[in-house]
């Protein structure tokens, strides 16, 4: 079986019903895409198929055909995607396990809607984060889309403790 992943044609020998997620992780060795639930609930496995955001845990590898797969590893060279830059500057991730999926979802949103409203963010960003980084994810999208200045967002959290014992 052939997969077109991150601009390369790769041959893999797997069971046809194997979810794309496991082909990506185990056959292609791209472990940035994560397993969280296996039932398309959490979004940790988000990748692009022909540019569309999909949950790879619930797509059999046999259904992919010649569609172009893009994983987190190929979102940008050198962390240069505006979403990655904003995420780094704001320290959005905590444990970070869900963040490949969050970054892919946010980048897909910005491609579709370059200046998303909060309502757009609400409906597009449906991935689970157990650490609870949602507030920073929202900030990150505001910054990545140029709707808020990085310095303003940072200042919001940079309160110097008022009193010191």
């Amino acid at each position: 079986m052939q997969l077109n992943v991150n601009g390369q044609i790769r041959n893999i020998d797997v069971e046809p019903n194997m979810p794309l997620l496991w082909a990506i992780r185990e056959s292609l060795g791209l472990t940035g895409t994560k397993y969280g639930c296996g039932v398309a609930q959490c979004g940790a496995c988000s990748v692009y198929l022909n540019g569309e955001l999909v949950r790879s845990c619930s797509i059999p590898v046999s259904a992919v055909g010649s569609a172009k797969i893009t994983t987190i590893e190929a979102l940008s060279k050198d962390n240069s995607h505006p979403v990655q830059k904003a995420w780094i500057a704001l320290d959005v991730p905590q444990c970070g396990y869900c963040q490949s999926g969050q970054v892919m979802a946010a980048a897909a949103l910005l491609k579709r809607i370059p200046k998303p409203s909060d309502a757009d963010i609400d409906s597009a960003m449906a991935n689970v984060c157990r650490c609870g980084t949602y507030q920073k994810i929202r900030d990150g999208i505001h910054v990545a889309s140029g709707q808020k200045k990085l310095a303003d967002v940072l200042a919001q959290y940079d309160a110097t403790p008022a009193t010191r014992g």
């Binding site: 472990t31 309160a159 403790p161």
Partner: protein, 738 residues
């Protein structure tokens, strides 16, 4: 603020081969990349660097790079950055040159536990190590300065260190840390190590960016335990008896064994079956084909309904343990002109770390190594030693990045034990065990189930004359630390977190007559420490009942609290901060309702106030939350804000959507479709106020605030609808967070 995109700030020290062959550590610190660490013993072609260790907490390399030892585990809470800030503050080094490493737990054992506790729970990472890590930084600075002074033949008192540069003030001569680090490492570690006055802190208290590799987390490069690859590695997945404590009676693996990629089907301990295969997917599909017959167990008769019945009986039972009491509450109730009463329920909860449980182990007849995502490297090592059947000096544990912890991966090393038990059946081959989400959901260490009956006595002048609080439910320590319970004559002291007479979990209210007791009602469901632990339910019980008592006595909810908080000025300060922040004394927008709550837990004073609206009687929108926390000292305000905001996501998920229920002795929920976790759209903006109340003891950050979101929202819901909700989660009352 500088943005750290330096991914080389991480080091894993001491290759496993160095440990296995018993090389003296001394100054020979073999720094290897994460990738090499992940490759394990097979390919540890490390380039050893001679990097002088200055004391035990700091290594200064000749190029001035500073490596700070971190033994608490990073799981997203920012402990690495905070601990490094504290060391660097006293070391007076250039923060941009600071990176960290994780000394292995085996090395700690070998060196007489020089790095102290590895346990990363109870919000202790910063607060219980601040003294020794700050002293570690200060001692290294003293040694570096002394080394420079020795070279110049001047008194050390004439030299100062700043930004990794040492200056001899009278002559203006300068040198750098790196140039004197070898000499410094040979000096004796000073015994008297004065620390800076907190007023002089430059780096502690600053919102510097994290140093644990944010850039790798947004490119997929960060290696989590589930991502490990070792040469020749197999992957395993496991199924443990769905009814806790049941055993494997028999199993038929004929079909599974013939499936592609499958290497072996093994029994693990008494109660589990695992499949080893080339890939996870092969292992999982094969495990689904193993026909396992479980031994019958009386626990099959246990259900959520039977557990609730047992807890309800406990609400009026007499076999109780008293956690906090003063005066005579029965007399107060007998003479009350009015009594109010309320009964509450708080369910089992699963941690549901987004990375399911996983661990990798390699076992041979004379060594055992394990790569573990752990909140407590020492506990992992102990599990490996026990399961491997090998002496301690033949075992090693490498800490690997965790995809979430929340209390699941510290005291509980069941997954580590399993990985070793599986690896033992495939000697010489590294085996990575990965749990399915379904296994993770059904084999947790669950937040204990608890009911509570609150009863208040009110006199004719509308004073609360007595408060009785009866807890009925599961004890964590009975299952996890039975020796502690035995030492307390059967009582589990942790049940009373947030309600204790005094201390880090001391109650912050005074009542003339008070009784808080616990009817211990244990189940076969294994309990665990779930972020916030017992404060979660205790805060719901007491903080919503405070509102009920305020209403019954005709007082404003904030004013009523203050009336009973006179002995706790720091608690009043956080309460006032959130009341001011939410605009408590000003009218809310039409259709918007407010609630507050406050607690002391894990040594910190915390409070939250929220604004909500309710549509159609059941659709709750939280518009904003104002939170305040006073842990005494704040190391990194932005990190604290992240923890507070994140804790509310965990806490509100539990309030609205999460519940583990039991049918026929087993967990019903299998995945996130039935065990909800709130999403971004449901999360309100959180404004965090940090207060440094100072004092001798530091408080924690990761857990305390989680508990105040739920009661604040419940109190606001009552104002919005006139309904008191006393059963968690709210989904069972048809209520949704939108």
């Amino acid at each position: 603020m500088t943005t750290n995109t330096n991914t080389s700030r991480r080091h894993f020290i001491v290759g496993s081969s160095a440990i296995a062959t018993g090389l003296a550590i001394g100054f020979d610190f073999s720094i290897m990349s994460e990738a090499n660490a992940a490759m394990g013993t097979g390919t540890t072609a490390m380039a050893p660097l001679v990097s002088p260790e200055i004391g035990v907490w700091v290594v200064v390399k000749p190029n001035d790079d500073v490596v700070v030892r971190i033994v608490r585990s990073e799981m997203g809470q920012g402990t690495i950055t905070g601990l490094a800030q504290m060391v660097a503050e006293e070391l007076e080094c250039d923060w941009k040159k600071v990176s960290y490493d994780y000394p292995s737990p085996a090395e700690n054992l070998k060196r007489n536990k020089v790095w102290g506790s590895y346990s990363t729970g109870g919000s202790r990472g910063i607060r219980t190590s601040e003294q020794y890590v700050r002293k570690g930084g200060a001692a290294a600075r003293i040694m570096l300065v002394q080394a420079a002074a020795n070279q110049w033949n001047v008194p050390a008192s004439e030299c100062v260190a700043k930004n990794s540069v040492i200056t001899h003030t009278p002559s203006g001569r300068k040198t750098t840390f790196g140039k004197v680090s070898v000499a410094a490492s040979q000096l004796e570690v000073p015994k008297e190590v004065p620390l800076k006055d907190p007023k002089e802190w430059q780096l502690i208290g600053k919102s510097v960016n994290r140093i644990d590799g944010t850039s790798d987390k947004v490119t997929g490069k960060q290696i989590y335990a589930i991502d490990l690859k070792l040469p020749g590695m197999l992957t395993a997945t496991i199924k443990e008896a769905p009814v806790f404590g049941s055993k494997v009676k028999s199993y038929d693996a004929a079909k599974a064994q013939s499936m592609k990629g499958v290497k072996k089907v093994v029994q693990v301990g008494d109660g589990a079956i695992a499949v080893l295969a080339d890939t996870f997917w092969q292992a999982k599909t094969a495990l689904d084909q193993v026909n396992i017959v479980w031994e019958s167990s009386p626990n099959e008769n246990v259900s959520s309904a039977s557990i609730k019945k047992m807890l309800e009986e406990g609400l009026n039972a007499s076999d109780t343990f008293v956690g906090n009491a003063n005066g005579d509450v029965n007399a107060a109730l007998a003479s009350a002109s009015k009594k109010i009463e309320a009964t509450y329920f708080y369910p089992f909860l699963n941690h549901a770390t987004l990375e399911p449980q996983t661990a990798t182990a390699k076992w041979t007849a004379d060594s055992c190594e394990a790569w573990v995502p752990t909140q407590d490297g020492e506990a992992s090592l102990a599990a490996v030693i026990a399961a491997s059947g090998l002496p301690a000096d033949k075992c090693n544990v490498y800490k690997v990045n965790l995809g979430g912890g929340f209390g699941r991966r510290g005291a509980f090393q069941d997954y580590t034990t399993q990985a070793v038990n599986i690896a033992k059946q495939m000697p010489g081959t590294p085996v990575k065990l990965i749990w399915t989400r379904e296994e993770d959901m059904t084999q947790g260490r669950y937040h204990p189930v608890m009911m509570c009956k609150m009863t208040a006595a009110i006199d004719d002048k509308k004073n609360i004359t007595g408060l009785n609080m009866r807890l009925s439910g599961q004890s964590i320590l009975s299952a996890v630390r039975p020796a502690v319970v035995a030492a307390n004559k059967g009582k589990d002291p942790v049940v009373f977190q947030g309600l204790d007479p005094t201390g880090e979990h001391g109650i912050t209210y005074s009542f003339p007559n008070l009784n808080i007791d616990h009817a211990m009602r244990n189940t076969h469901v294994p309990p665990g420490f779930w972020r916030g632990v017992n404060v979660n339910q205790n805060a719901v019980f007491i903080e919503t009942f405070m509102d009920e008592m305020a209403e019954a006595t005709g007082m404003d909810a904030v004013e009523f609290r203050r009336k009973h908080m006179k002995e706790f000025p720091r608690a009043v300060a956080v309460l006032n901060a959130v009341a001011d922040g939410i605009g408590w004394n000003k009218p809310a927008a039409p259709g918007v309702f407010r609630g507050v709550a406050q607690m002391r837990s894990f040594g910190s004073y915390v409070a939250a106030a929220c604004e909500i609206s309710v549509k159609n009687g059941n659709e709750v929108k939280i518009h904003r939350i104002v939170a305040a926390t006073d842990p005494g000292y704040i190391v990194n305000p932005a990190q604290v804000a992240r923890q507070v905001s994140g804790s509310f996501v965990y806490g509100l998920s539990a309030l609205f959507e999460e519940e583990i229920t039991i049918e026929k002795g087993a967990v019903v929920q299998k995945n996130f479709d039935t065990f909800g976790s709130i999403r971004l759209s449901q999360m309100p903006p959180v404004e965090t106020i940090v207060i440094q109340g100072g004092g001798k003891d530091w408080g924690g950050v990761g857990e305390p605030t989680i508990a105040v979101a739920a009661p604040a929202v419940l109190n606001a819901f009552y104002r919005a609808t006139g309904k008191r909700l006393r059963t968690v989660p709210l989904k069972n009352s048809g209520i949704k967070l939108v």
